[in-house]
């Protein structure tokens, strides 16, 4: 049987076989013999999730534009496919050419969330690639990673040959150029790593060794190769207008989570919420010009035939010329029979006008993220939103005919008390009252959904030193809120599972030692931990037990601000001194201004210009 026939046989047995066939419009079709670098972009979750991720489209576009590089894709196979591959002893393969992953030159994973890590191991294993870099030979591909979780890469350090920090466009191009010359030289793999660790943004973990002091506390990083930098600075694309952005995005054949045209309007965020990792690591704000956004939107719509388009950023309304931009995009979309969707819009009167127009009769999807129930706690987390903002917007929403809102809160935030939880219920109640009033005293069909997630301290944020709440405490708070909110008519309460939040905390602040637990958990069968139907907490606990690693050590410890941290050698551009002062201000309930009102002194402007500094 040929490989294609073997593959066909599998495809006939699995659910959603088109996850594995490639062949979509604008997927790259190159002759592998005509390239020097075969790069697999690996997304450690299913096709439907991976294909909704814009970063994949950008990287794919950037790499395939290079004549001597062929970027292909691989996703985590669903469990039915995994079982068949193992049963038939067939290797995991790329979508574009069906090539076994082990034949690639570089396999690059994107680290979007901690709970996808077991899928990384599973992908490597299904490809017959040894999990740890030290066990791999000259014949194996380089295993790399990038993305937000790469800012604390230590839990995966033993697995990865190199890690790319920050914006990938330029770094990947340079890595591939370096790969081409290295390949031509015929030198051993180590020389390639020695070469690329000099490139800004590239971290080669095997050139560093963590040293732990007494009690097993992290002490410092020992450099094992002199040519490696002491600190690895993240890469930044300075000018988004000059950065490559795909117009011909791959158009999936099957239904994926976000199946639409999308243009990124800016990177970074000026608001400085203290729990938010994205708000720190993607600094500073870099906007794409309105002209370029409009041109990209138009050409993407024309090239793909999508009937929906969206714009992407951390906070849509903060775009400097958002009103004219949205007005123009609305007219482009209208002319092309395309529905425009605007995520993370701040609810001011302009937004309402826009939403009225684009949503028409289908009034859906109003969301608000106060994050905390009291002004005090919102000051602690530096979430600059007031109750007046919320109620004013809700009054308007109810008057305009919206019949519901979804509210996002976080619990377990530092300094939180039960008064703050009461505040959550009060906000929900007050919104209900406002809506009733606007509706002539009747509730009508107005509905409030309160969605609560559990705070996870993340590296490179002012809250990186905080302890996470215990699972017991989370559960008590959930019960408390459930009870309070049950008494308010028209309120639905959702909350996140505590086990997954706990595990996230372990890996968000983990050091190299937790890698053994990760591997053990995978060996014991953990996969797709982000999927509640697949998540097996007992197995995870067993993995911690067997590897002698304490999950509590990583999740529940409040770290000293003077102590060295396992990710100190990763430099995201925001200084530790700034994070420390933000943490101290948080404890004093003091806000820090949005940097559009004046520099907050995070340190990023020592590396680049902040175009939005002081513009408000």
């Amino acid at each position: 049987m040929t490989w294609n026939e073997q593959l066909d046989k599998l495809l006939k047995k699995v659910e959603k076989p088109a996850r594995y066939i490639g062949g979509e419009l604008y997927s790259a079709d190159k002759d592998p013999r005509e390239v020097d670098t075969r790069f697999a972009f690996a997304f450690p979750d299913t096709y439907e999730i991976g294909m909704s991720y814009l970063g994949l489209q950008i990287i794919y576009h950037v790499l395939n534009k290079m004549e001597r590089v062929y970027c292909e894709r691989v996703f985590a196979p669903a469990q039915d496919m995994e079982a068949l591959l193992r049963e038939e002893q067939l290797p995991l393969f790329t979508l574009e050419t069906g090539t076994p992953l082990s034949e690639m030159d570089i396999v690059g994973f994107t680290l979007q969330y901690e709970l996808s890590y077991t899928n990384i191991l599973n992908i490597l294993d299904l490809a017959g690639i040894p999990l740890k870099s030290e066990d791999r030979g000259e014949e194996h591909p380089f295993i790399a990673a990038g993305g937000p979780c790469a800012f604390n890469p230590e839990p995966l350090a033993p697995v990865l040959d190199f890690i790319m920090l920050g914006d990938g466009e330029d770094a990947l191009r340079e890595v591939c150029e370096a790969h081409r010359s290295w390949k031509a030289s015929g030198a051993p793999k180590r020389e390639f790593l020695e070469e690329i660790c000099r490139l800004p943004g590239i971290y080669v973990p095997s050139f560093y060794e963590p040293v732990y002091g007494e009690n097993g506390v992290f002490s410092h990083m020992k450099k094992l190769y002199d040519g490696a930098p002491d600190k690895v600075e993240k890469r930044m694309v300075e000018n988004l207008d000059e950065a490559d952005f795909p117009e011909h995005t791959i158009v999936p054949l099957i239904d994926v989570v976000h199946d639409r045209a999308v243009v990124e309007i800016f990177r970074g965020c000026t608001r400085g919420c203290r729990f938010c990792q994205a708000g720190m690591i993607y600094r500073p704000v870099r906007e794409r010009s309105a002209e370029r956004i409009k041109a990209l939107a138009k050409s993407q719509i024309e090239a793909t035939g999508y009937d929906e388009m969206s714009i992407l950023s951390l906070s849509t309304s903060d775009y400097s010329k958002i009103e004219p931009l949205v007005t123009d995009l609305m007219s482009t979309c209208r002319e092309n029979n395309v529905a425009l969707s605007l995520p993370s819009l701040r609810l001011d009167s302009f937004s309402f006008n826009v939403l009225q127009e684009i949503q028409g009769y289908k009034k859906s999807g109003l969301t608000f993220a106060p994050e905390a129930g009291t002004q005090r706690l919102r000051d602690v987390i530096n979430k600059n939103i007031t109750e007046k903002d919320i109620y004013g917007a809700m009054e308007q929403a109810a008057e305009l005919g919206w019949n519901g809102v979804k509210l996002y809160f976080m619990i377990g935030l530092p300094t939180e008390t039960y008064e703050d939880l009461d505040g959550i219920a009060e906000v929900a109640q007050n919104i209900m009252d406002v809506a009733c009033q606007a509706n002539g005293g009747r509730r009508g069909r107005f509905h409030v959904t309160v969605s609560v997630s559990n705070f996870v301290p993340k590296a490179h944020t002012p809250f990186q030193w905080c302890a996470q709440d215990s699972e017991e405490s989370f559960r008590e708070k959930h019960i408390y809120l459930k009870d309070k909110l049950r008494k308010i008519k028209g309120v639905t309460f959702n909350y996140h599972e505590t086990h997954t939040s706990h595990l996230e905390a372990v890996f968000a602040r983990g050091d190299r030692r937790v890698c053994d637990t990760l591997i053990k958990a995978w060996e014991l069968g953990c996969r797709f931990d982000g999927w509640s139907e697949h998540f097996r907490y007992d197995t995870w606990l067993e993995a911690f037990r067997q590897t002698g690693i304490s999950d509590d050590f990583y999740a529940f410890q409040e770290l000293s601000t003077d102590a060295p941290l396992p990710w100190d050698h990763i430099d995201c551009g925001v200084s530790k001194a700034f994070l420390r002062s933000e943490w101290e201000k948080a404890l004093k309930e003091v806000c820090t201004q949005d940097c559009r009102r004046g520099c907050a002194g995070c340190g990023i402007n020592s590396r680049t210009t902040c175009e939005r500094e002081g513009t408000l």
Binding site: L11, K12, A18, I21, E24, L253, I254, Y306
Partner: protein, 254 residues
């Protein structure tokens, strides 16, 4: 306003996309190629286009048909060339015809479909013996299969014999897909009811036949292709390709 029917194939990896995926693919392809379709009125406007008969996931097809209405008039050649440049490999147009405007869709007219199934027959029967088995199978007045009712989930018995027009068995071409090397690779050609009125799933028939030969039918190991869709003119017994149908000319006597 103009109305057309296109004839296209769906094969290779594209047989793994579903009916709904194909619908979405055509919707986007029309959009991309600047062929504006007429949209229905109402709260949830959708383009006026319909497949003559949905094709199951995993099946190849030589001749599928899509019936649609456009805002502007195009030549059939123009439609074929525009869509063919924009469709992914594995889906392509072979022809296009204009239809007279009519409320009646081709989906309402189609009655029969022809399929080929190539697979390895288990058991020890030779091709000649299998042919005899088939003759005996077709000589039955009743072929009863159990079918799950969609709504209730109850198993009901159904006689599928009246929905079988013809069935032939050959030794598979060793070079054909699903043929392969080895013994007892057979190709069955089926002519069965296909349409909104009466429809026989080829796999139900293949299972019934294999069981009559004392072997199981393993769907994953069969290569299934739809060859053509047919209709009959009232009062005539001749099967005509649905592509030759002008629905406006077909009376409501159906």
């Amino acid at each position: 306003m103009s109305r057309y029917v296109i004839q296209f194939y769906k094969k290779g990896a594209m047989r793994f996309i579903s009916h709904l995926d194909l619908l979405r693919l055509f919707k986007r392809t029309f959009k991309r190629t600047g062929i504006k379709l007429i949209y229905s009125q109402g709260f949830n406007p959708h383009p006026k286009m319909s497949f003559v008969q949905p094709l199951s996931l995993g099946y190849s097809s030589e001749k599928e048909y899509l019936d649609f209405e456009t805002v502007e008039q195009f030549s059939c050649e123009d439609i074929v060339s525009r869509l063919n440049t924009a469709l992914p490999k594995g889906v392509g147009l072979t022809d296009c015809r204009q239809l007279a405007p009519s409320k009646r869709t081709l989906a309402a007219v189609v009655e029969y479909g022809s399929y080929t199934a190539t697979f390895r027959m288990g058991g020890t029967l030779s091709i000649a013996e299998l042919k005899e088995k088939l003759a005996a199978f077709l000589a039955l007045n009743e072929i009863i299969v159990e079918k799950k009712q969609k709504k209730t989930g109850k198993l009901v018995q159904q006689n599928i014999r009246p929905m079988i027009l013809d069935m032939t068995l050959e030794e598979a071409d060793p070079k054909s897909a699903g043929g392969g090397e080895g013994n007892n690779n057979i190709t069955l050609t089926l002519l069965v009811c296909a349409g909104s009125n009466r429809n026989l799933n080829p796999e139900v028939l293949l299972k019934a036949f294999c069981e009559s030969c004392g072997v199981p039918f393993i769907p994953e190991e069969a290569e299934l292709t739809r060859n053509e869709l047919y209709y009959k003119k009232p009062g005539s017994e001749q099967l005509l390709s649905i592509f030759d149908c002008q629905p406006s000319a077909e009376s409501e006597a159906f």
